[in-house]
Symmetry: D2
């Protein structure tokens, strides 16, 4: 990065103010590897809260803005204006903000879901292409080294053809006592089915990222399991992948007592892999005709290239969620730096999820909603 | 048992000769708690092999029979003839043997599936009632103490209303190198879809046993995932239980590298339970608003009545598959002894699966096969 | 067994009456594989309780005896008298009973510790030799298949020279609320330091069984950790093995909240093995320069000979404590049958612990007690 | 921090250049929470390598120094000179560098061991006091939230009086194939016994940090287990803590195939706690008379104050080694900021290890070396 560009990238953040879960995550991820200077922020739609929070976080007061529009406009006018903007606002604002940021010539890291419907997502993807911008959708779980290890092993044929997939994302937060959190309970801001847009989309992406296969069709059961539940908190699907592999998925945010519960398990002709986000440094490799191996993250050539690229600390020293998230930032920095220099895209461009992955996410969500209504299998459209 | 009847029960076995997986399991289960004398056997349809095997297993030569018909006929003529017969033959013979054994006035332990189609299963169940016989279908996984602990906790309301269910039975044996095993690869003897009749039926029963809920409807994907596979090796389902709970299931015997992989995970309003057959002495209790507890099998009042009844050894000394299987034998002995004495059925009658559970198993299999053809949700008939 | 002798062995039990933990374990172990007929019992030193308990357990009334002396005398006078006696009485009676049983021409299974002091243990071992008897000390944890797997891997050189050993046996029962159990709290019946004789002796044996190395010298800390504790409940040692390997051990029955906690971890030049009794079907194999492998018990040639010999059920169907205990009975039966036929000792003779292992146990206990007094390293005498 | 001081702290680093394991860790830890600006560096004793590395890491060229002496001298002359210095050089240079940094009026984060002998450590501690400086020894494992949870539970009496302690740190790196790493294999730079100074000191500190008890006396076995090993790679100890609790420890860097293996297990009258660095977000709580609880790190009041203070991300999103390390930096920043403002020390002062902990570490190492020579128990001196 320093080698490529000779300076750090300048980044601004939109959203993620006081009380946000994801705001601190983005900021830590931006700082972790020293490739960005966090220089501008629109932290809240309330200007006074934005200013207070900006001071608390150490932003220069003149670069703490009262709205994202102001941030884009004023930064565009500075010689030392931002190169990159990170968008972490409610779902229904992603499209508008990203379109404006592209107009402002910025590169973008944006939270999932990319948008709340397929057509705006496709429009945004088209605009990214014409703008010549770099774009990362923060499907952050793809940033874990052992997820990349799994993907590399599939690509290298170590499992043979993939035949079976099981995806889970089993959270309990909606079932916990106490008030539920913020804008997610307001249908409008979510932009559709909460469970599909908010968490299932992570699980669907993870499956595709690791297997290299898109879902061709699915049959879904979507609904609310909580008594009096008004938002969707449950989805289970049967799936058929492009290569004919069969899959199933269970995703919920209302399994009382559960923590995070994102996991994948895949099987090919030669064996299987299993990974759990809650113990991310381990990957279980089941081998046909042999004993299980436990692959643990380490900083040596026993790792696959993608895993090694996204590892910071030696064998036995666990890395976690923040490092996985920071991997997307780190890799995105290299790609943006290359773009700014006019260089060819570096190898990192293959690692993080792009705008097309965001579109695919919405296509799956749309097919799942359709199937839940029809009670039948539905085809997932091509992006 | 000794207290009840003053003697051991006399049992004969049909099937389970040389090379059988389940034969030794039944015989160990019958011996383990000292409530049966194994006195008669029809171990093979080849009389010479039957005799050899009988001698090797220590049966008296005059009670080693060359066919199950001979066993039933000759034992009926002895003063010290058998009280109980255990049936462990290929699926397509269960119905005929059991009907004849009922005619001979015997009580029956029979392997799952009860039969290969719904109508014969219903006929058998009706005959059990008119015969006044005791009947156990060896859905053996319901014999584990921690499975009973889970069931008792659900009954006691410790999880609140059950909302979500996930069942898995993920084996790899069909995907292993080497020749596949015996009669199971011959469609006729299986009597239908291998994966549904042979292993999914265990998982479906386990879910019902623990939750106390039957499946009302389901949507299934059934097929062969192995290249060139001629028998069904995969089923995944979406399910709706009688109380409205939603569920999903993944069962296969072709997940390369897998071992046994039977597990359940259920969630109610107050928390969840998770159990894996491969570590059967532990039950994970996730509690809404609290930390997880790991319930471990022990021989003290911290266990529920059903768990305590089926435990032999103290805290920290693992029990396994043979003890679970033996629990069905042990409880069945008490119920048969009470019947022989003309006593009311003892508490053990509630613990082991009966002929009705066998009928329900075939109704679910039948609905799953129907759904796999229709691509839509199908209702599961009442027994 | 049936092949060897043409009949089952006749066995009598001394001790293990109502309220005993180990009595039912022995009886189940004797029944499990169908190689013994349990025909005689001296279950209690109170004749009325002995008779009642005998009836409850299904013994023929005329072979339920009021004392072990009566059992030995009367069985010796029967044509169908017992071949083998199993001794499960308090520690301080083992020596006397076993000597008398040898005089009666019996083969013996005896609980650990063999005796309560080194000299009587040596005397007993000498008498076993002159009597030409078979003898098994039920260090039952050596009966687990994965313990034999570990031992076979060490023998085959798969770990290289053994360099480091860690043994643990961390129970909590003495620290639990409620009354402590029976004769173990009466110093006289234990015959010395409770923690050393009752449980440490299991851990020391396990280490020697797996590594094939005896302890040459040790430095021990022995004492009571419970407030007001009057019996030893804690021992930790530093150890040097015969081959120069270093080891350490932590054994207690007063670690509040603990379950069983027996485990070993060993490392040689090429890797290490770790096993926990509470999950006995798994053996972790750490490999220098490679990933960990999880070896799971199965019924196929991937297992070592010793593991395969002691396995009953296929991959993924857990076995437990009762099966491990039964393995000693099963192997002992083969060795006794060979002896009765005048055949050479079969391969099973190598698998179960013999009288010499019992003597070694007392030598280690004696050295540990000496070291605890001297505060220095002490040599362990040769048997 | 921003609230306290209105600006970030300025920090310089000494050591940690190309090829260092710990250098990147320190720099990430300093960046992670945005409380430091990394502004100065002496990365190598070779000025050309130092300059290259400084550029690669994004330091301003004029603040990349060719030696630590130059860094201290030149930064002292700048108006915007550093507030804090982080020392990550070989062990035998810690004392000299820290003494000079104190002369320069700096606050210090220094790697363990504090020094290589007791007397220089005591001299440094005295100088810290007279200088009125803040000092943190980076016993980094005390930075994990669940370690603080354990400590807080002990302090709150949730375990009752502590009776038993077991510490392990079982690495395999010296036993791996390939060249061993850098200055650690050169006796002079280590300053004594490698295993004692390099890793055992972490384990000893962890035990004291969690239990709140210092070691009063110990008996140690220290040596080389590798064939031809010239550096100590093994230590096992028996220990007595100040409150009478008994303990044992096993630490090695030559257990072939091992990863990190730092763990503690403690038991008091009411239960026990167990923690493994390789799965740091979980703390097992064994409870006398109850079931085990698995305490998992989360961002809510179920956590103890110390755990909550050191947690960044919500339930189910794992944190790791870098976050633990960063906790020390984060807390140290608050304490330095308070000192710079003349405020009273904030609560964070209680959380990170100070110079006295560094002295204690050397006193234990010294006693262990003495005991290894004498073969007897030795007293650990008071600091």
């Amino acid at each position: 990065m320093m080698e490529r560009l000779g300076r750090r990238l300048r980044i601004g953040v939109i959203g993620g103010g006081a009380g946000s879960f994801i705001g601190p995550v983005h900021r830590i991820a931006a700082r972790l590897d020293g490739k960005y200077d966090l220089v501008a922020a629109a932290l809240s739609s309330d200007p006074r809260r934005a200013a207070e929070e900006g001071r608390r976080l150490g932003f220069a007061p003149e670069r703490v803005y009262g709205s994202w529009r102001e941030l884009l406009a004023r930064e565009a006018g500075r010689e030392d204006g931002i190169d990159v903007v990170a968008v972490m606002t409610p779902n229904d604002s992603h499209f508008e903000i990203c379109m404006a940021a592209l107009d402002a010539g910025l590169h973008i890291l944006c939270d999932k879901p990319l948008s709340t419907d397929v057509s705006s997502a496709r429009e945004l993807a088209a605009r990214v292409r014409t703008a010549g911008a770099e774009f990362c959708v923060t499907y952050c779980y793809s940033g874990y080294p052992m997820v990349r290890q799994a993907r590399d092993m599939v690509r290298a044929g170590e499992l043979g053809e993939i035949r079976q997939v099981q995806l889970q994302y089993v959270q309990g937060n909606l079932a916990e006592p106490g008030p539920s959190s913020g804008w997610r309970m307001q249908g409008g801001r979510v932009g559709g089915s909460l469970v599909l847009l908010d968490i299932a989309t992570h699980a669907f992406h993870l499956g595709a990222y690791v297997t290299g296969q898109d879902i061709a069709s699915l049959c879904a059961d979507v609904g609310a399991t909580r008594p009096g539940g008004e938002v969707d908190d449950y989805v289970a699907t049967l799936m058929r992948y492009a290569n004919g592999a069969r899959g199933s998925l269970w995703v919920t945010n209302a399994a009382a007592g559960s923590e995070h519960g994102l996991s994948f398990r895949i099987h090919g002709d030669l064996g299987g892999l299993e990974w759990h986000q809650e113990e991310p440094n381990r990957l279980l490799h089941r081998r046909a005709g042999g004993f299980d191996q436990v692959l643990t993250r380490r900083l040596d050539p026993a790792m696959s290239p993608g895993a090694l690229r996204s590892t910071r600390v030696a064998l036995g020293h666990p890395e976690g969620y923040l490092e996985a998230f920071a991997n997307l930032y780190d890799e995105f920095a290299e790609v943006v730096a290359a773009r700014l220099k006019g260089d060819r895209p570096p190898a990192e461009a293959d690692l993080f999820p792009g705008v097309l992955d965001g579109v695919k996410g919405l296509l799956i969500v749309e097919a799942a909603a359709r199937s839940a209504r029809s009670g039948a299998w539905e085809r997932v459209e091509a992006p």
